[in-house]
Amino acid sequence: MASRNVEKLDLSFSAVPDKPKKDWVIVYLRILAFLATASATLVMALNKQTKHFVVATIGTTPITVSITAKFQHTPAFIFFVIANGVASLHCLMMIGVDILGPQFDYKGLKPVLIPILDMMSLVLASAGDGAATFMSELGRNGNSHARWDKICDKFGSYCNRGGAALIASFIAIILLLIITVMSINKLKPKK
């Protein structure tokens, strides 16, 4: 009888000590957002296409000129790459903070810093997106009033890859928005 009571006491003492419950949903979302921003950055940064144009023909030998389309030619795409690069670094840092975080003590300004940084990277990513979207629209359709020719009919795969990077960036913005709302929600004082 006494041993059974001792057993019951042991069971009650092995109850879970109070440890803050880890929120795994936001870590998964951050991993997804990191993948999306990193892929947008990489696809746009490696975007390059070279094409050879025949300019004139002298006798039987054609003179070819090779023109390259690179992402560095347009400041909008440079900003897009930089913005998404910064956003992906931020996501990586936040994943590290979330996984290694509970070991350190959060006091003072630190809990507020996470949603503020999330918002800043969201704003940066959406700015880069807006600029690159309209720049690629200009490249696809041209602008007859300003006499700017479209370039997508000649550099098809350059435009397609840019479009893929843009789609990845849009997905990243939606994920970053959800992450920002969730991390602001975490700040609420628990009743």
């Binding site: 389309a69 030619h73 959406s126 600029a131």
Partner: protein, 166 residues
């Protein structure tokens, strides 16, 4: 103590009114930018509606103007401020993306792009370019004010006693 709360309310209302004014003037300045010129033998006309980026800028800023006007009338202690914080964030993002897009196209218009054989147009229509620059500057001011307002509304939602504290 009450005067500080009152001063906060007045400051907040003033900031919202400034934001409303900034977006309204961005819309007006961009929408009235219009110039005709003759380059060589062509008749060139520059309007904001020729470029989808400027159209997006005008539409985004007018949506935010209407929102800014309606939110001036929200009483400070109602429960709708949570919704206002969410819409503040969405509209701030909209403003940022619209001004970034307009800046990208305006930069091409001013400097051209030699790789794509796009010539700058600002030499032929300088008045149009100056007006667009003015609209973009006012739009940037509106973005900054909206970011401050966003931080304010999030703080207000998380700590609802902020306006009753001394």
């Amino acid at each position: 103590m009450e005067s500080i709360a009152k001063a906060r309310k007045i400051c907040h209302l003033l900031l919202r009114f400034l934001a409303f004014g900034a977006t309204l003037s961005a819309v007006i300045v961009m929408a009235t930018s219009h110039e005709k010129a003759s380059v060589l033998v062509f008749q060139v006309e520059a309007k904001y509606s020729h470029t989808p980026a400027f159209k997006y800028f005008v539409i985004a800023n007018s949506v935010v103007t209407v929102y800014g006007f309606l939110i001036l009338f929200l009483p400070p202690e109602s429960l709708l401020w949570r919704f206002a914080a969410a819409t503040d964030m969405v509209f701030t993002m909209l403003l940022v993306s619209s001004i970034s897009a307009a800046l990208a196209i305006a930069q091409v218009g001013k400097k051209g792009n030699s790789h794509a054989a796009w010539l700058p147009i600002c030499n032929s229509v300088p008045k149009f370019c100056n007006q667009v620059t003015g609209a973009l500057v006012v739009g940037a001011i509106a973005v900054i004010i909206y970011m401050l307002l966003l931080l304010n509304s999030i703080h207000r939602v998380l700590d609802p006693l902020i306006f009753r504290k001394c």
